[in-house]
Point group: C2
Chain length 156, copies 2
DNA sequence: ATAATTGCAAAGTCTTTGCAGTTTG
DNA sequence: CAAACTGCAAAGACTTTGCAATTAT
């Protein structure tokens, strides 16, 4: 299982964390313990989606005194900075993820779970939609609703 | 403008309203003034999306004593009956519409407005998604997020 | 008559905000 | 030091729920 040392992977994580914090500083922001912990959680979760609640729980495991409102405010700052994407839809709250890898979201209408879809899936459609409706799909973060495999087999 | 008589179109509306109410009765439910008003608003709005708040406002214009909780409970019943579709995503609440015409939803991440997309737009993709992820897009009610034409031109 | 529905009020989520004290740069 | 950030507590938006009274069938 996980050792006490630091793996190359963890170094990568730290590098990413520091570069994001540096962006905050460059923007006139301050780096605090809470913010560092939040960014760290966000980077660690970069392959899936987290809610503000998930983050609060993770952060508070190490730093019990980091308040929920700090999580929300930090999330806002990161979004304003352009490094975080907020998906304000979702059963029971928004989900967030870093803007580092493009993909699409399949959200289950029944259980709220979010599945990632292969990027480029919607490329052929994006053009048509824009031409016909003036609506431009965010190519990096399209979100589509439906019913996931598990719920599909469950009677309502 | 609108006269005091009843147009053929309004007759259609009433017919639809009554058939839905009849379904409720068939299901063991009761038809009340509030429920009739709610269903009527829903039918009148069948070409766009409404929030529980929209409905409450419309209904209360004629029947000030119909409570919000009644709106929510009626909406729940209609959904359980399968005649109403609830889209639990949206900035500031869920939107609803009757299950009578298939279409897709383009939801703006910035202003929350919902634009309808031509049906069949996602047909070519639905298969691929299902094959690759096990996630089945609800063909009648796919919802996609992005930025609408208006917001696109507005600086953040 | 009786089972369903209602209004009310209270509570539950998720999120935001004003404020005074603390910390960062 | 000054500006930024924090915890706290309160409030706001949306929705659900328990209850006793009312109403549809």
């Amino acid at each position: 299982m996980a050792g006490t040392g630091r793996s190359p992977l963890q170094d990568d994580v730290e590098t990413t964390v520091e570069s994001i914090l540096e962006e905050m500083r460059a923007d006139g922001g301050r780096v605090t313990t809470g913010r560092r912990a939040i960014v760290r959680s966000l980077v660690a979760a970069s392959d899936h989606h987290v809610t503000a609640d998930d983050l609060a729980a993770q952060v508070q495991a190490d730093h019990p005194d980091v308040h929920r409102s700090t999580v929300y405010r930090t999330l806002d700052s990161l979004e304003a900075l352009g490094v975080l994407h907020r998906i304000p839809f979702g059963v029971g709250g928004a989900v967030y993820h870093l803007v580092d890898h493009a993909h699409h979201h399949l959200v289950c209408t029944r259980c709220g779970s979010v599945v990632e879809a292969p990027p480029g899936l919607f490329a052929p459609i994006a053009e048509r939609v824009e031409a016909e409706t003036g609506f431009s799909l965010d190519r990096a973060h399209v979100m589509v609703s439906g019913v996931c495999a598990a719920c599909r087999c469950t009677p309502v």
